[in-house]
């Protein structure tokens, strides 16, 4: 089989990239999805809060996904379900397996990686104890409850205050469970503020910041946890331990981009994002292989996923049409400085920039009043004031391309300067 563009993953990232590529003039596209339906993680995110930027209305996850699925079908873009990609080679031969087709091999001119991410598990953050029933990841519990209608427990403690954990606190409460606490190691929550308000505060669920689980008690099933305070070095403070009785522990301790395939294709990954290193077009270190959505870096807003993925789709088309000719032109490295943990994209080829450059990034700490200072080779080119910054909320800064184009700049840095009170 031969296709111009093959998209791996049929979540919002893959759907938006495929639709955009089609609209830009390439019709020979194939989307491969391992699940039994398109839509990705959004199908289990039944809460509202999606699409305010893109559609100017507030949709639930499935509603947001369905709009793109409908568009894909209207445009007659080909897709295969129950098809799991198991290998991609550097010269873009994709190997996939499906119950109906067996093993298939596809040669693509361009590949768009949109495999999303998976949840960190309890093992990834090492909590002592055996493996009784009643310990799950929050995302697994979400899938069980929202798609199969299966309640995983009655008295729940949630570890980690990422968005999935917060959303599940409300969801379990609405379905009659008692959520005893959300325990968070850090002094701030990793989730969106609005979720703390409408998922915890609305139901008087305590958020225990700066706390950790030190013991899980159990028979065949979890019977309770011990919780202790931690100090500023995240070490347990002696004598602060207390017990909470529960039958279920949900872990919501973060997401990791799913990049085993990218590695096989020889794509360079960033140690900070765990996703590919990309340029302004969302193209990875392997020419013609693009990445977008949660496989590139973990997003909290699907709108930004869509934006980024459309760009990947548009540039995959340019690549296939031969409109991109190497890296000879001026390449600017983006570099996170004080207060910023990463910036995507990592490289900007000035010849291919649109009128504005979008830089996606996360800050390291909570800041109440701060300024983003953007410098080109050490010279300030833009300052953006913000009233509230948190690591859980991805920031997108937009700068005019004129400020950096044709000036032979080699490095663009961003730092946070906190306002002194």
């Amino acid at each position: 089989m031969k296709y111009d563009i093959v998209v791996i993953g049929g979540g919002p990232a893959g759907l938006a990239a495929a639709v955009e590529a089609n609209k830009n003039g390439i019709k020979n596209i194939l989307v491969l999805e391992r699940d039994r339906e398109l839509g990705g993680i959004l199908q289990q995110c039944i809460h509202n809060g999606f699409g305010l930027h893109i559609f100017k209305e507030e949709l639930t996850g499935p509603e947001y996904a369905e709009r793109f699925m409908d568009e894909l079908k209207e445009l007659n873009i080909e897709y295969k379900l129950n098809t799991m990609v198991i290998d991609i080679s550097e010269d873009k031969v994709i190997t996939a397996v499906s119950p109906t087709d067996g093993i298939i091999s596809i040669q693509a001119k361009a590949v768009i990686l949109a495999m999303g991410c998976r949840e960190r598990t309890r093992g990834a953050i090492s909590i002592p104890g055996s493996r009784p029933a009643g310990i799950l990841s929050a995302g697994t519990a979400q899938r069980y409850l929202n798609m199969e209608g299966y309640m995983v427990g009655k008295k729940v403690v949630i570890v980690g205050s990422g968005d999935i954990g917060l959303i599940m606190a409300r969801r379990m409460t609405l379905e009659g469970a008692e959520v005893k606490a959300v325990v968070e190691l850090m002094p701030f929550s990793g989730g969106l503020n609005r979720n703390i308000v409408q998922c915890l505060d609305d139901f008087d669920i305590p958020l225990m910041l700066g706390h950790t689980i030190t013991e899980i008690r159990n028979g065949n099933r979890v019977t309770g946890v011990s919780v202790s305070k931690v100090d500023e070095n995240l070490k347990v403070v002696e004598g602060t331990t207390f017990d909470i009785e529960c039958d279920t522990i949900l872990f919501s301790v973060g997401l990791i981009p799913e990049n085993e395939l990218s590695l096989k294709a020889g794509v360079e990954l960033s140690e900070v994002t765990n996703g590919a290193v990309v340029n302004e077009s969302m193209e990875t270190s392997v020419p013609g292989i693009f990445a977008c959505g949660n496989v590139l870096h973990v997003h909290d807003l699907v709108d930004y996923v869509t934006e980024e993925s459309r760009k990947a789709g548009r540039f995959a088309v340019k690549y296939v049409k031969g409109e991109i000719n190497g890296d000879k032109e001026n390449v600017i490295d983006t570099k996170p400085l004080n207060g910023i943990s990463y910036i995507v994209p990592q490289k900007l080829r000035t010849a291919y920039l649109d009128d504005n450059v979008s830089l996606y990034m996360r800050v390291r700490n909570v800041y109440e009043k701060a300024t983003f200072v953007i410098k080109a080779d050490g010279e300030i080119i833009k300052e953006i004031k913000k009233t509230h910054l948190a690591p859980g909320e991805m920031e997108r800064l937009s700068i005019k391309t004129d400020l950096i184009k044709n000036r032979n700049i080699s490095e663009l840095t961003v730092e946070v300067v906190e306002e002194v009170k």
């Binding site: 507030e58 369905e66 609405l174």
Partner: protein, 121 residues
């Protein structure tokens, strides 16, 4: 004078707004758009929320259909709304936007499907 600090939850930006009530008039600051002002005033007078949940569905490839309240409902009614929703069973095929319960609790709000599901029989 009464002042409250709130987090606007109308969209995921989550602006930190401050509302001051003075002789029956409200002054709202910190909101990035007009919806934030409306939210803050409602939050002080009659807080409401959209309720997303699921209902049992028959003849579909999954056993739950996601639904939501078509408009926000008063916060105090959330559990009453849940109780009624949990008594409902629907049958595939269903289309996004189909009404599952009309005018729930007389609130002038419908419970609507938030995805389409094909029939598997």
């Amino acid at each position: 004078m009464e002042t409250k600090k709130l987090t606007c939850i109308v969209c995921p930006l989550g602006c930190h707004v401050e509302i001051t009530k003075n002789d029956g008039t409200f002054n709202v600051t910190g909101n990035k758009c007009p919806r934030g002002e409306k939210y803050a005033i409602e939050e002080m007078t009659n807080p409401t929320r959209v309720v997303p949940t699921t209902v049992v569905i028959k003849n579909a490839s999954l056993s739950r259909l996601p639904v939501k309240t078509s408009k926000p409902v008063p916060k105090k009614d959330i559990f009453k709304v849940m109780e009624l929703i949990n008594q409902v069973e629907v049958e595939a095929p269903i289309k996004t936007g189909d009404i599952v319960i009309e005018n729930i609790l007389g609130l002038n709000v419908n419970i609507v499907a938030t995805r389409s599901m094909k029939s598997v029989i």
